[in-house]
């Protein structure tokens, strides 16, 4: 028996919304009993995208976070159900029974990721089914994955040691969305946006030219990371924890060392940092 899962790589997502639209195309107005009732035509895709903008001009980053149902192993929606209206199949897919769930509005609020939507017309809660009706017909992947141009969405059998996804979930950098909920989701992420610190280094004695190849060190309690400025004098540390205090140290043997304390209460653009000759 397969155990279906997905890995979503935020670095690869280009925010095209193909997944969001393919979900609407598959489900809007289309009935797939016993798995799902039609999705409303407006406003209720079961694959949502959140745009996340970080930083300040010109040190800006924009990421898109696709959010289907995370198919949790320990799903609050399943736990909330009293009569089998939400259930988890042996292949890991969590489904809301469109008949049994009539009127069960409380299921919507059971999900901390807010991926369950309320269908006003049909009076039922609804969500992503991993296109189970297609998988049952032999499809290899759901519509959103088929539509993805970058491979940002990877789908497959987590229990098949040969599958790409089973290798992917064991590779470094794999993470859960909101691990604090402890829901053991079968949809996992890579490269979720975190905090970054960026700046640009100038040389005071070179008519304020961009400082290329200057060593910049980021230090915190846990240790340090090192990078070099690029030809524009830019440096950047991404993937940092929020609300942490870091030390940025800029060093070059001909210039006076600079040390800056930075708190990641937001993404930080340190702007221009002028290096003065040593001594």
């Amino acid at each position: 028996m397969a155990r279906y899962g997905m890995v979503i790589d935020i670095d690869r997502c280009n925010g095209c919304y193909n997944c969001f639209l393919a979900c609407k195309d598959e489900f809007s107005g289309n009935n797939y009993p016993p798995f799902s009732a039609p999705q409303p035509n407006k406003g209720k895709s079961w694959m949502r995208l959140t745009e996340k903008e970080r930083g300040t001009c010109p040190k800006v980053k924009v990421d898109y976070i696709p959010l289907p149902c995370l198919q949790c192993a320990d799903a609050p929606c399943v736990n909330k159900a009293v009569n089998g209206e939400v259930y988890r199949r042996p292949d890991g897919i969590v489904l809301i029974d469109p008949e049994k769930a009539v009127g069960k509005r409380e299921i919507v609020s059971s999900c901390p990721h807010r991926v369950i939507t309320w269908n006003e017309e049909k009076n039922i809660p609804q969500k992503c089914t991993f296109c189970v009706h297609l998988l049952e017909q032999g499809w290899k992947e759901p519509r959103c994955v088929e539509a993805c141009p970058t491979g940002a969405l990877l789908f497959g059998d987590l229990d098949d040691p040969e599958s790409e996804i089973s290798r992917a979930v064991k590779s470094p950098g794999i993470e859960e969305l909101n691990p604090e909920y402890g829901l053991k989701p079968n949809v996992l992420y890579r490269n979720l946006p975190k905090r970054f610190i960026a700046g640009e280094v100038l040389l005071a004695d070179q008519q304020e030219a961009c400082a290329d190849g200057i060593k910049v060190t980021l230090k915190d309690k846990a240790g340090k990371q090192v990078c070099e400025t690029d030809f524009l004098g830019d440096f950047e540390f991404d993937g940092l924890a929020p609300n942490q205090t870091y030390q940025i140290v800029i060093e070059h043997k001909r210039y006076a060392r600079q040390s800056i304390e930075v708190k990641t209460d937001s993404n930080v653009n340190l702007g221009e940092i002028m290096l003065n000759p040593a001594g």
Binding site: N14, C16, L21, A22, N41, E53, C57, V62, A209, D230
Partner: protein
């Protein structure tokens, strides 16, 4: 009963599932692995092979909702206060409502008007205008049935302006030829060349994730991802932190709109003063460099084009300009100045010819055509087999009027011409004059041919046949289109379309057409043909699709060919029009038969298989674009329209000298005294930019580039699902508003918050948008996509009404690029923004 069909769209081939006569699913064309012979590029010890599928543009996934849109025109309609035998009430166009009439009545009225006008004034008093790409397919495309019909009427054609690549057409052509590509370069095999050799890519006014080489869906997205993962440095010079920049996590250098020419000159200044340009290439392959060098150093005008000088124009610090120039010279750098090599919003500005010319000249200084030194949009140039010819919709072979597949050809004898950008002026205030044919693909000299409307001996136009789409959202200063429609000079206006578009309700008679899902056709993905040969190399594979009629035409709609056949019948021209009774399937077969595809598959087999995938063969030999020129060899690329190929000048470019011209010989010879497009490119201060007096009144510069989630005015408004994409439209109070992007500083100064409804205005008009406060634009610059399909005036019929549909191009100037270059300039536009309290 479930049945599956195949079809093709602007942005990729599709499989259509139909259940009980209704389309239930539209997905990327389902193909088999065995259909492909995947290509592999080896670079840096890695092998790159694309996924074996068609990557559609986003809006194609909303095709089903567009098909069944409430905006479909369901029945023939007549404006209630239009009486062909009595009062026409032209001044009420855009105001009056419509009544349903029968097809017979609609055809009779239309034919009656055609006959009356032809008799009274001659066929040249009829004009017609089509949008591009509201449907795909070589049988049904606008250049097919519509032009054959209009040609029979001997109408006055309207030249299109090269609206997406103005500066390349009117400018770059005079630096490197390529007039047969309308100013844009060949892109053959530049994917492989870049993967193998490039260390940096400078994206300059280019967002290929959004503009997709125009038609290639998202097939090239993976190429850029490969390059990113390979560690190629990416720089983005753009007033907007665009989608590609975001996806690539590139270095953004925001510059002021229409300052690009100054920045380019400062880069050249750095190379000249550092002595880091390719002197041998400049000597052997270019003409006029010495004059250019003097100008850059300020020896002719006293102004050295230093990085400090350019910083004052562009807003980019001088140190960064200098460092960028040095890195560019030191590393193998690709210049990516528009999705097809050319294009980009910077070429649609005041004097935008100069920027585009300078893009060519800059890269010439670094050996344009050498490995890793190309001009490449990053969205074309995959390995692609060009051996098998299949015509695109713009090829002469598929133009129903003149194709060799037609037994009876139609040649329109009318010499009079109109020009799309000035059509309203031509109707309202003739005479008007301009230079150039719009698409000057035959020669450099074509750009200098003067036109005047009305032409001597010809009538003014009285009948306007509008077909497919709208220009209210895409041309300049478009409130004047409202004035044109309300002119009594237009005695009759007919509009034929699938959907209610922004110009539809200015017509007297409306004829409902069906979409490409509801009729038979065939087409190759991304292969427009004409002046853009081999466009399908923007896709990973060539895919030719039998475009099947998946369902019967909805409501009372009919295919364009059928509508025009019925009109022809009433005009007594049916036999002539249909070339002796040909059906759409007959035409499809005829086009198939004149292509090379029968070598691969018979027509019968093709109809069974429904698509053909052409992969490059084992013997495929890449011929990178312009490598031949850089190396002084004969042209070895398969560029079919290059007129010097296979002549004794086949190592030359298409310029007068055959070289890259710093001093353009074509401009020098034809317009030596033009100081707005001088033989040597200049940075000319924009008439509506950061140095304009007008800025005191309208302090913000707005750019309105091509949109990401729609295509021209197509798919927007008619494909409702797109309204839920906040980058496209944002729903507030049950209305789908068009976003305008504002820097937090500009917003704070005006008390504007996210999701506020704001008015954008200047002396030309007022448009309402929804505010998106973002760091993706610098202070002083406003971003809002062009091409809203929803012209929605608060006072219908009033040409100065506030529009709440987001047609920001209402605000843009209709002043041409320069006195002799009739290109549009939407990205040179000043406005003010206020919170809307209406």
């Amino acid at each position: 009963m479930e049945k599956v069909f195949t079809n093709c769209t602007n942005e990729g081939p599709i499989t259509v599932t139909v259940k009980d006569g209704k389309v239930t699913r539209i997905q990327p064309l389902v193909m088999k692995e065995s259909d492909f012979k995947p290509w592999t590029i080896e670079a840096g010890g890695k092998k790159y092979t694309p996924p074996l599928k068609a990557n559609l543009a986003p809006f194609i996934h909303a095709e089903r909702t567009r098909l069944y849109s409430p905006d479909r025109i369901k029945y023939p309609l007549k404006r209630i206060d239009f009486d062909p035998n009595g009062k026409r009430n032209q001044e009420n166009r855009g105001i009056s409502g419509y009544e349903r009439i029968s097809w017979d009545e609609a055809l009779d009225i239309t034919v009656g008007e055609i006959k009356r006008i032809r008799k009274a004034y001659g066929g040249a008093a009829i004009t017609g205008l089509t949008s591009s790409h509201h449907n795909w397919g070589i049988v049904g495309y606008k250049m097919g049935p519509f032009l054959r019909f209009m040609g029979m009427l001997e109408y006055t054609p309207v030249f299109d302006n090269p609206d997406s690549w103005e500066g390349w057409h009117w400018g770059a052509t005079h630096a490197w030829g390529f007039y047969w590509r309308l100013g844009m370069p060949e892109q053959y095999d530049l994917l492989e060349d870049t993967l193998k050799h490039a260390e940096m890519i400078v994206f300059w006014s280019n967002d290929p994730d959004s503009t997709r080489a125009i038609y290639s869906g998202q097939d090239s997205v993976i190429w850029r991802q490969w390059l990113k993962e390979k560690g190629v440095k990416m720089i983005f010079l753009d007033p907007y932190y665009n989608y590609t920049a975001a996806h690539m996590d590139g270095t953004w250098m925001p510059l002021r709109p229409d300052s690009g020419a100054a920045l380019a000159m400062a880069i050249a200044f750095t190379w000249i003063t550092d002595d880091t340009y390719d002197k041998k290439y400049v000597k052997d392959r270019t003409l006029g460099f010495e004059e250019f060098r003097k100008h850059i150093l300020g020896e002719d005008d006293g102004q050295p084009k230093t990085p400090e000088w350019a910083a004052g124009e562009s807003g980019i610090p001088a140190r960064k300009i200098r460092s960028l120039a040095r890195e560019w010279a030191a590393k193998k750098t690709v210049l990516s100045a528009g999705t097809r090599g050319g294009e980009g919003g910077a070429c649609r500005t005041a004097f935008g010819t100069e920027w585009a010319r300078l893009m060519v000249l800059l890269q010439a200084m670094q050996g344009l055509g050498k490995p890793g030194r190309s001009i490449w949009g990053t969205a074309m140039g995959a390995p692609s087999d060009t051996k098998y010819y299949f015509p695109g919709y713009a090829d002469l072979d598929t133009r129903m009027a003149i194709t060799r597949a037609a037994r009876l050809k139609i040649n329109n004898p009318t010499k009079q011409r109109l020009y799309r950008l000035t059509l309203p002026d031509a109707v309202l205030n003739p005479p008007i004059s301009w230079k150039g044919e719009g698409f000057c693909g035959q020669s450099l000299d074509q750009q200098f041919i003067p036109y005047t409307y009305p032409m001597e001996g010809y009538p003014e136009v009285k009948l306007f046949y509008r077909y497919g789409g709208s220009f209210m959202g895409t041309m300049s200063d478009t409130n004047k289109w409202v004035r044109m429609y309300q002119s009594p000079k237009l005695e009759f206006v007919v509009n034929q379309d699938c959907w209610w578009s922004s110009e539809t309700n200015f017509a007297d008679i409306i004829l409902p057409a069906c979409t490409h899902i509801e009729r038979d056709d065939l087409g190759e993905w991304a292969a427009a043909g004409g002046y853009s040969s081999h466009g399908s190399n923007g896709c990973n594979f060539r895919i030719i699709v039998r475009q099947e009629k998946c369902i019967e035409p909805l409501w009372e709609s009919k295919s364009d060919y059928e509508i025009l056949s019925l009109l022809a019948e009433r005009l007594g021209m049916r036999e002539e029009y249909t070339d002796g009774g040909r059906t759409e399937m007959d035409w499809a077969r005829a086009y198939y038969e004149i292509s090379d595809l029968p070598k691969l598959m018979s027509w019968e087999e093709f109809n069974k298989k429904k698509y053909i995938v052409i992969s490059p063969g084992d013997d495929y030999k890449p011929t990178p674009a312009l490598r031949w020129f850089a190396e002084g060899r004969k042209c070895d690329t398969p560029d079919p329209l290059n007129p010097k190929r296979k002549t004794d000048k086949e190592d030359e470019l298409g310029t007068y000298s055959g070289k890259i011209e710093f001093v353009s010989q074509s401009l020098k010879q034809n317009l030596p005294d033009d100081d707005e497009r001088p033989p040597l490119p200049h940075y000319i201060i924009s008439w509506e930019g950061h140095r304009s007096e007008l800025r005191k009144k309208y302090p913000l510069q707005i750019i309105s580039p091509h949109p990401r989630f729609s295509f021209h005015t197509h798919y927007d408004k008619h494909a409702e699902w797109l309204n839920e994409i906040p980058g496209h439209r944002i729903i507030k109070d049950n209305y789908a508003w068009w976003p305008v992007r504002i820097n937090p500083a500009d917003a704070a100064e005006r008390g504007i918050y996210n999701n506020d409804i704001v008015k954008l205005y200047n002396d030309r008009g007022t448009v309402l948008c929804i505010a998106v406060i973002t760091e993706r634009v610098p202070a002083g610059v406003i971003h809002s996509y062009g091409s809203s399909a929803n012209y929605d005036p608060l006072e219908p019929g009033n040409a100065v009404s506030v529009d709440r549909g987001g047609c920001v191009n209402i605000l843009t100037s209709s002043r041409m690029m320069s006195q002799n270059a009739p290109g549009m300039t939407p990205n040179s536009c000043l406005i003010e923004i206020e919170k809307w309290e209406g």
